[in-house]
Symmetry: C2
């Protein structure tokens, strides 16, 4: 498990090969096993995979269009505000849900990248997907088959610099 946590990378280079629908389902199932406050499970998903024209339009909502449009599948993650009891805590729960999906993708040897920047275009993405204002866009996870290229590990702060106190 720790190996998977360590191995996870933001993968931005994909081959042209498709991702099996069954594997997308496995990512989603892992995501939905995250904890959430009062077990509200506020996460919702709009998946764009078959409709490549739509996928390109959603990709064009981010400044990372160049690589996002090359993903085979975009998992657009929303918060259902009707199932949310506390916005901040539900944002955290959805972060936990996305992390589960990324760890599962790592285990399945898929490439995946969490795109937060797209939140600036919430209205545009919802319009493209036909999703109403009951839902807030939380992230897009781009998923594809990884190219062989090795992704660099980002620099990390030292643990001692992140500990405010140990009493």
């Amino acid at each position: 498990m720790s190996d998977i946590i360590k191995k996870r990378r933001s993968v931005r280079k994909f081959t042209v090969d498709p991702v099996e629908t069954d594997n997308i389902k496995k990512l989603l199932q892992a995501g939905t096993l995250a904890p959430s406050g009062k077990n509200g499970q506020p996460w919702r998903f709009a998946i764009v995979q078959q409709d490549k024209a739509l996928l390109r339009k959603v990709a064009a909502c981010t400044v990372y269009e160049d690589f996002v449009c090359r993903a085979d599948c975009l998992v657009c993650v929303f918060m259902d505000k009707l199932d949310s009891y506390h916005y901040i805590k539900d944002c955290q729960a959805i972060g936990a849900c996305i992390q589960n999906m990324l760890l599962k993708a790592t285990e399945l040897e898929l490439g995946a990248c969490w795109i937060g920047e797209v939140l600036n275009r919430d209205a545009q993405v919802k319009r493209l997907l036909g999703i109403d204002n009951r839902y807030d866009l939380m992230a897009v996870v781009a998923v594809g088959q990884k190219s062989g290229e090795k992704e660099c590990a980002p620099s990390r702060k030292q643990l001692q610099d992140l500990i405010l106190s140990y009493k």
Copy 2:
């Protein structure tokens, strides 16, 4: 890895046995390997383990005092607002960090419970810990040795009910 994701439970019953410092460090290290927007790593930790009087005071800040005060260790998770570039996305990143800690705790056979309710007492917890307003309290993770008692799996929504569209 999926087994760990499935096995993770909110554990609220602990034995009186301590948790090795080294295991707390492993949880924190797993947490810090989460992704964050622009690699900001906004998570910070204040750990309360040795000072049991302080631990009881922090526990008393939550309505779950009865079980939280029986944890051997409280990992108080904060956001460093000076290292935050977008509050919502950084809340999500901290959710991903907490999820890594919970998965690591599951792997180590430790009991852990994510307490969000304590956010109502941000000021009080920071006063107890001597932490200033540069930091926002994000959660407290109660950690201890699990009692043998089996924790129930919470009910889960069906995946099909969480998918808004698949195009």
